[in-house]
């Protein structure tokens, strides 16, 4: 590793100029919500970094986070991610299979003890001795304990690796859990979402290489730079919410003009995510931008706590003007099964408890940061 090239050198060989490189560092500084002066710090750190080994594990997954990873959006980001790291194991894209693939995993664990990053995608089934997911004849729960237990740090990407996600939705047929419950006590960053947004994964990695520490997180392990703000607070449609202009039916005039989707079930008022700021696929769009409500995919156990997706959240108050959305709107709130009350959201936002990226204290009392009841007790079955 000693003679491994720095990132900047490697990029130069790939036709990425220093100017493009610094532009990337500036982009990363803005994703990480750092002041512009940090772009220089990031550049200095990356120039010196040899490629950090990375092992990407997939268990009860759909490879959606892998696909998201492949969509790294800035024209140079995917190259930077590929060249910045040494991705030694990733079943979906690695050249070898079978024994030779397992050799790549073993080599990494042997040669880089406590010196590699582990990324986990998918839930880990704990039921029935682990028979619901095996790789090379080994149970996922045994693999995740060995690999994450010896890693420098682990990043759980997507809802499934965070809290069990879809496989853990009621009635959780395979006793699926996320990394935090399968391997308690490790250094862990959680990046929920279905899938996670690759801009944020790149942000975590660059943050680590720059500051030699993982980014500050809330009490659920989510980086504050990406999961510190309610979608509702930064939604471009917020003005319509405040003014009481709601989509009433799909395809109506309000829907065509981009009015608020709250009445169509949008979970933005309860979802902590930087989606409105960074967008998806190189900021091409994002779900609300394409006129469907947020489903709260970055929220805890969202398959149980944010469903039914088309039922509106209860009593989200309009602030700025002191009336509720229902008073502004025309309808009557139907039966609502969402798990969390809205008052906590309102009070937190009103209190102005908004974290700044590094070392910030997580906003207390936000509904989205509370652990839900154990899986299996929710609606849906």
């Amino acid at each position: 590793m000693a003679d491994a090239m720095s990132l900047e050198q490697a990029l130069y060989h790939r036709g990425v100029t220093r100017r493009q490189f610094l532009k990337f560092c500036g982009l990363m500084a803005s994703v990480l919500a750092l002041p512009p002066r940090f772009a220089g710090t990031i550049a200095t750190s990356l120039q010196a970094a040899p490629r950090l080994p990375l092992v990407w594990l997939e268990f009860q997954d759909c490879a959606g986070n892998t696909e998201s990873f492949l969509r790294a959006s800035n024209p140079t980001v995917s190259q930077i991610v590929l060249d910045l790291l040494s991705v030694n194991y990733h079943e979906t894209i690695m050249a070898p299979a079978g024994k030779q693939a397992e050799q790549s995993l073993e080599d990494t664990l042997t040669n880089y003890p406590k010196g590699y990053l582990a990324v986990v995608e998918g839930a880990i089934p704990m039921g029935e001795d682990g028979v619901y997911c095996t790789i090379a004849g080994r149970a996922a729960r045994d693999i995740v304990r060995e690999v994450c237990g010896n890693a420098l740090a682990t990043i759980a990407v997507g809802a499934c690796a965070w809290d069990g996600g879809l496989p853990a939705a009621a009635p959780n047929p395979t006793s699926a859990v996320g990394v935090k419950d399968a391997v308690p006590g490790i250094t862990l960053i959680n990046m929920p979402g279905c899938p996670m947004n690759v801009v944020n994964l790149t942000g975590v990695i660059v943050h680590y290489l720059t500051f030699k520490e993982l980014p500050a997180t809330d009490q659920l392990g989510r980086p504050l730079f990406a999961y510190g703000q309610l979608i509702h607070n930064y939604c471009p449609r917020r003005g319509h919410f405040d003014a009481g202009r709601f989509v009433e039916e799909w395809g109506d005039a309000g829907h065509r003009q981009g009015w608020c989707l709250y009445k169509m079930g949008c979970k933005g008022p309860q979802a902590l995510s930087n989606c409105p700021s960074v967008g998806w696929n190189d900021a091409t769009s994002w779900p609300i931008g394409s006129s469907h409500g947020c489903v709260g995919c970055m929220s805890p156990h969202f398959w149980d706590t944010r469903t039914p997706f088309y039922e509106r959240l209860p009593n989200v108050e309009g602030f700025g003007i002191e009336v509720t959305a229902d008073q502004l709107g025309l309808g009557v709130v139907a039966g609502v099964t969402a798990a969390f009350g809205a008052h906590a959201v309102i009070s937190a936002v009103r209190a102005g408890v908004q974290p700044i990226a590094r070392h910030g204290q997580p906003p207390d009392q936000q509904s989205d940061t509370r652990e839900p009841p154990p899986s299996g007790n929710s609606n849906g079955s």
Binding site: R14, A63, E128, V131, L166, R256, N281, V295, Y310
Partner: protein, 570 residues
Amino acid sequence: MAKLVIDPITRIEGHLRIEAVVEGGRVKEAWSSGTMFRGVEIILKGRDPRDAWVFTQRFCGVCTTVHALTSVRAVENALNITIPENARIIRNIIDGAQHIQDHVIHFYHLHALDWVDVVSALQADPGETAALAQSISTWPKSSANYFKSVQDRVKTFVESGQLGLFANGYWGHPAYQLPPAANLLGVAHYLEALDWQREFIKIHAMLGGKNPHLQTYLVGGMAIPVDPNSQIAINAQRIAQMKQWAAMARDFVEQVYIPDLLAIASFYKDWAAIGGGLGNYLTYGDFPRRTIDQPAEFWIPRGVVLNKNLATAPAAMEQERIAEYVTHSWYTYAGGDAQGKHPWQGETSPRYTGPKPPFEFLDTDAKYSWLKAPRYDDTPMEVGPLARMIVSYAAGHPEVRATVDGVLQQLGVGPEALFSTLGRVAARGIETLLMTRELDRWIDELAANIGRGDLAIHSGERWRPESWPAEAEGWGFMEAPRGALGHWVRIKNSKIENYQAVVPSTWNGSPRDARGQPGAYEASLIDTPVADPEQPLEILRTIHSFDPCLACAVHVLNGNGRELTRIQVV
């Protein structure tokens, strides 16, 4: 004879294991096993049918969008909803774009390394690569300097000593046949395709909010509005942007993918006689030009071809003739495991009877997979791009006939070459080429429809559950990139009573059925040459030619399973 085990099969989606017996340098017998189970259909029970597409889309993130579309079609079928024209066309655009992007990723990032030796590219003369590139295509990135820069990148990478994803590959294996110059071409386009797919799929982000896992489907239509006088809806600017993405797709497929495919295939013609397998092909048909209940108007036809018969028109496909077996799958049926059950009568209880992990071998005489075994008229079928091209060819589809004949002629092989590993690879490319042409037409069709003043994107009269019958059942289907995909839903008192999916990789990757008939992967591996059992590259070639997707393939049908152990999640 000891068994050969390949687990994990990499460069696929999901968890697939192949066990095989190799004798005299050829595969004598093979078993395909899916080794992961989630139980999504159990989770769907009791939920709002309008939510189902969000759940089922997560069957797979590689085949993103396809299970969402199939799910809304199933619920619309159950509730007798006809969607507006704009929604139909937008769905075709999304679906077509998925095929194009998915097939290109498959060719370059999941399959190419079976044919292209990355290390050999280091020995190439960039001038020779440029000459080769210019002889097969007008793609502008084809100078000797360009290929020299790619080669330098690879050299730099190798010299770093950290080989990452390429470590422990089968480099130098005798089955690699390409000259160094062609290997360098393959490596260059591997990298270009990585950039291309990221840009092209922005068409999904525009129409679906994000990719993967688009978020604008609705039971009854789409949530992305159309309105020429709105800045947030599909307007003239966005139509123009879509046209650009379509042109970008067509350029890349015509000038890079297809020339590469033909060039590489010309070095591997022996693979036109390997990996044929079942010889039975099934399609549900897709890309409706009118409503979904008029299959005769689909762009890809519906039908069944048996025994490699291209001479007569395909037989009719009737979904009622599908049944699934669990004889060799880790499930039980109440009436005994020897019978097959149609999805409507689907009844499944997961029961693992395999070895306790860690294990070395599965007991392939007994149950050995989380995949079930779907059969049509008790016959195992292959689905996918090859099935689509064969059914279309037999049905006399003019564009398919012309393009398939052209490719066969260029390779100097007859139609029998289609029934092979190479045939699968070629069919996928041909389909992609035709799809890029169609994509542009669909965008024009959308523009024309909006131009007529039609702004409808959703049929709302049966949106509210109060408007639904007490009980309903529906079938949704599509041609996903990997083949025929069906969802069956039963709705009772506004909730999902039962949900079930029979997906392409379940057809292709299925274990044996009650009669001991192998699935498509298993059958296709028979007689595949294996030069070195320690480096089973040839087995990967045939398996990858199907583009396996295992997360999709493993399902359980309803909640009749026994109570499973549950642990407290805190």
